[in-house]
């Protein structure tokens, strides 16, 4: 299959998807349920997320040259594949909706005293749709371009946060009931579970150094998130509920901030950039899922046409629900988080399980591929796919030459 993005770019996309809401409202939301043990809820959710990631990543690695749709259809059949796509669609629609609402809310609170919803929505949707339309390789290169800046600004903010932290105040931990801790984990799971987005990227990634790169970027994200949460909870141990935008508040008490008066533009710009990158990732999966649900063997169409009705429905939903009785956050904690938890765990386990199911014809192909790779490595450089297939077939008949 044609490789569109490199393994480094995939690693960076995973890094970006691991951030997001975790740097804004999540700490305050964790405190609401688990109080001073909110950090424990966070690490618990992170562990569950990592387990799901490992399952998903193994699935990904075992299917180098296969697209996700082909993988599903061959293993479990078209009908069940469409169900899995439907689950993806639901999962990422929730996420996208929540991303846009939470992102707009964050921006409005942090730096815009006057700003209408329509203004943000227009720009947000415009940018993420444009990034989607530039196609996956241009989008992943864009994320790769901004990655050093995002990383260093994050490190800078965390270092500033550590300047005002007092690690002794982090303890004692485990003072709350386990039910409160678990409640904090599950009611906030909408901020987790993003890893399954890499499944639809199957077949599009260059596998050179993939393990090194992906593990490297996952480790970066874990270190940054862990240090952020440690710095945050050690300073705002008892007042975390007041700080709904963690990344801007963590640097509020730094002496440097006092001199310049307001460093809010730095974390706000960072979060805007991260939201603008998460949006196209979710959009990619949503559009792909919808396309795979609606296409048939005889009927296929340009995926870009999905964007038009999708955007219209989205705008209507935002306008109806944003100022509605149920705020997005409450909705996420009551319904969406449990749905997200269920889907991310179910899909991870399912895909992992079915990657071990092999049909007879596939076993043969695997044998042939193995021979072809070991004995005739130079053929892998040939770009003509038909030639490759012809040579494979010739081996199939007579065995190894």
């Amino acid at each position: 299959m044609k490789k569109e993005i490199s393994s480094r770019q995939l690693g960076i996309l995973i890094f970006i998807s691991m951030l997001g809401f975790k740097l804004t409202f999540l700490p305050a939301s964790l405190y609401k349920y688990a109080r001073t043990d909110g950090i424990i809820s966070f690490f618990l959710a992170l562990i569950i997320d990592l387990i799901c990631f490992v399952l998903v990543f193994i699935t990904f690695l075992r299917n180098e040259d296969v697209s996700f749709s082909a993988f599903l259809e061959k293993r479990i059949g078209m009908f069940f594949a469409k169900i899995v796509y439907f689950l993806f669609f639901i999962f990422f629609i929730f996420k996208l909706f929540f991303l846009i609402s939470a992102g707009i809310y964050f921006v409005k609170e942090a730096i815009y005293e006057e700003g209408t919803l329509s203004l943000f929505l227009f720009l947000f949707l415009l940018t993420i749709n444009s990034l989607f339309l530039f196609k996956i390789n241009a989008f992943s290169r864009t994320v790769e371009f901004f990655f050093p800046m995002i990383f260093f600004v994050l490190v800078f903010i965390i270092v500033l946060g550590f300047l005002t932290s007092n690690f002794h105040s982090l303890t004692p931990l485990f003072v709350r009931n386990s039910s409160e801790i678990f409640n904090g984990t599950f009611r906030n799971f909408i901020s987790f579970g993003d890893f399954i987005f890499i499944l639809p990227f199957m077949g599009k990634v260059n596998f050179e150094k993939i393990k090194t790169n992906v593990i490297k970027f996952v480790c970066y994200a874990l270190i940054i998130l862990s240090s952020f949460y440690i710095a945050y909870f050690s300073f705002f141990k008892y007042t975390a509920y007041m700080h709904f935008h963690a990344i801007t508040d963590i640097i509020e008490f730094v002496p440097l901030a006092a001199i310049i008066e307001n460093l809010d533009w730095l974390p706000t710009t960072l979060m805007l950039t991260i939201f603008l990158f998460q949006g196209p990732i979710y959009l990619f999966v949503v559009v792909n899922s919808l396309y795979n649900i609606t296409k048939t063997r005889k009927f296929s169409y340009d995926k870009r046409f999905i964007l038009i009705p999708f955007n219209i429905i989205f705008i209507l939903l935002e306008l109806l629900l944003f100022y509605g009785a149920i705020s997005m956050l409450v909705l996420s904690q009551q319904v969406a988080s449990f749905v997200c938890f269920a889907i991310s765990v179910f899909v991870s386990i399912l895909c992992f399980a079915i990657s071990f199911i092999k049909k007879k014809t596939e076993r043969k192909k695997h044998y042939i591929v193995k021979l072809y790779n070991e004995d005739l490595k130079w053929i892998s450089e040939m770009k003509n796919f038909n030639k490759k297939l012809a040579i494979k077939k010739s081996f199939k008949v007579g065995g190894a030459k």
């Binding site: 004692p172 008892y238 007042t239 007041m242 700080h243 307001n262």
Partner: protein, 412 residues
């Protein structure tokens, strides 16, 4: 129309730029800057009078003199809630209230009785930084802001900087919205809030820098002219209001605050006066010693069932000044600059006695500024819980805690 759609699909970026340009030009060509129709507040004063709130706002007004002067206007309004009062004050000014540059909130003593309630609006308003300084005052907040108006434009001596100075050098405690709410939520539930008074002696507020101007508006709002020379002066002696669970528990005078500051590592400079000190070189002298490089270690432990906290101080004291009373000994003896053992012993005793005396006052107020609750709970949760449950009134846990101070004076 068809051509337009064809053109749009071929050159989408051009169409986009056109739409953005049209929107931007129409929206911002005639739009004034935000600070034109916003009243940028630097300080807010909250007075609770009965069940009503009177809010006084100190807003910056721009002038076209093109120098770097800062001009302020003081406006007041009353309302049943702070939100209402602020909105009214804004209406009187004819502008929207802008709180992003708020540096100080001044409250009177009545408002400080339940400070978390008073500050609720400001805590919820995201644009107000939680690092905004809180000041309690003996008079009304309105009078305080009026009298300190001339100081506002002086960067080095305005009240916000005074509070920051106190936090660093005097009390060792921040006095801001964050610390107030932290004290309301944490188990030890105590913090100190700066208490600045308007008194007969203090910083002279009248003078040539009085650039206050005022507007008067109708209704229940009023504003004052700050041109008169008044007798009242700003006094910062380091006294604080003790907040327990977000409520005013009492006032701690400056001497007690300074004595207690021995227990915090944050305050940078402290000094001790040894009165009527005599040794082989001095007789009835007043020796002023200054502390350098103070390290404080607090350790919680249980002596049987009695919770105890030990303060271990390690510091270096230097002789700063010697005031000789005895006129007979006028010769300047270099040896008296040396910090000898007697001086060391006397200094230790003085620090301990001052600290214990002031600490008793804290105990009377049921305040726990040093977070003994958390320390003891961390040390031995079960024993501490037993201790707490054994008390008649669990809020009075401070009274049963034994405090010991050990001082190690490092040699020069």
């Amino acid at each position: 129309m068809k051509k337009f759609f064809e053109f749009s699909f071929k050159r989408p970026i051009l169409v986009l730029i056109f739409i953005i340009s049209a929107f931007s030009i129409f929206s911002c060509a005639i739009k004034p800057s935000q600070s034109t129709n916003h009243a940028i507040l630097r300080a807010v004063g909250v007075d609770k009078i009965g069940d009503e709130y009177e809010v006084s706002i100190l807003s910056f007004t721009s002038s076209s003199t093109q120098n770097f002067s800062e001009n302020y206007t003081l406006t007041s309004a009353k309302g049943e809630s702070i939100t209402q009062a602020l909105q009214l004050a804004g209406d009187y000014l004819g502008k929207q209230i802008a709180l992003a540059h708020l540096s100080t909130i001044v409250v009177n003593l009545q408002a400080s009785e339940n400070l978390t309630e008073t500050l609720d609006y400001f805590a919820r308003e995201y644009v107000v930084n939680n690092s905004t300084n809180i000041i309690c005052t003996n008079t009304t907040a309105k009078e305080f802001l009026e009298k300190t108006l001339p100081l506002e434009s002086e960067d080095s001596s305005n009240e916000s900087n005074i509070v920051t100075h106190n936090a660093k050098f005097v009390t060792g405690f921040d006095s801001n919205i964050e610390s107030v709410y932290e004290s309301a939520n944490k188990p030890s539930r105590t913090t100190f809030v700066s208490y600045l008074k308007l008194a007969d002696e203090g910083v002279d507020l009248s003078g040539e820098n009085n650039s206050a101007s005022s507007d008067s508006s109708g209704g229940s709002g009023n504003s004052e002219s700050g041109q008169k020379k008044e007798d009242k002066k700003l006094e910062n002696d380091g006294s604080v209001v003790v907040l327990v669970k977000g409520k005013n528990a009492g006032i701690l005078e400056s001497e007690d605050v300074r004595n207690l500051s021995w227990g915090t590592p944050n305050t940078k400079k402290s000094n001790i006066n040894l009165q009527n000190y005599s040794d082989e070189n001095l007789q009835d002298a007043t020796v002023v010693l200054v502390c350098q490089g103070r390290r404080v270690k607090k350790e919680a432990y249980f002596d049987g069932d009695i919770p105890c906290v030990k303060f271990s101080l390690s510091m270096q004291l230097d002789v700063m000044e010697i005031l000789q009373k005895n006129a007979l000994i006028k010769t300047y003896i270099p040896k008296t600059t040396h910090f000898n053992d007697k001086m060391r012993r006397d200094a230790k005793e003085k620090i301990k006695s001052d600290f214990y005396t002031s600490f008793e006052k804290i105990k009377q107020l049921n305040a726990d500024p040093f977070n003994f609750y958390e320390m003891l709970e961390k040390k031995d949760k079960n024993k501490f819980k037993n201790y707490i449950y054994s008390l008649e009134n669990q809020e009075d846990y401070m009274k049963g805690i034994k405090v010991v101070m050990e001082i190690n004076l490092r040699k020069n």
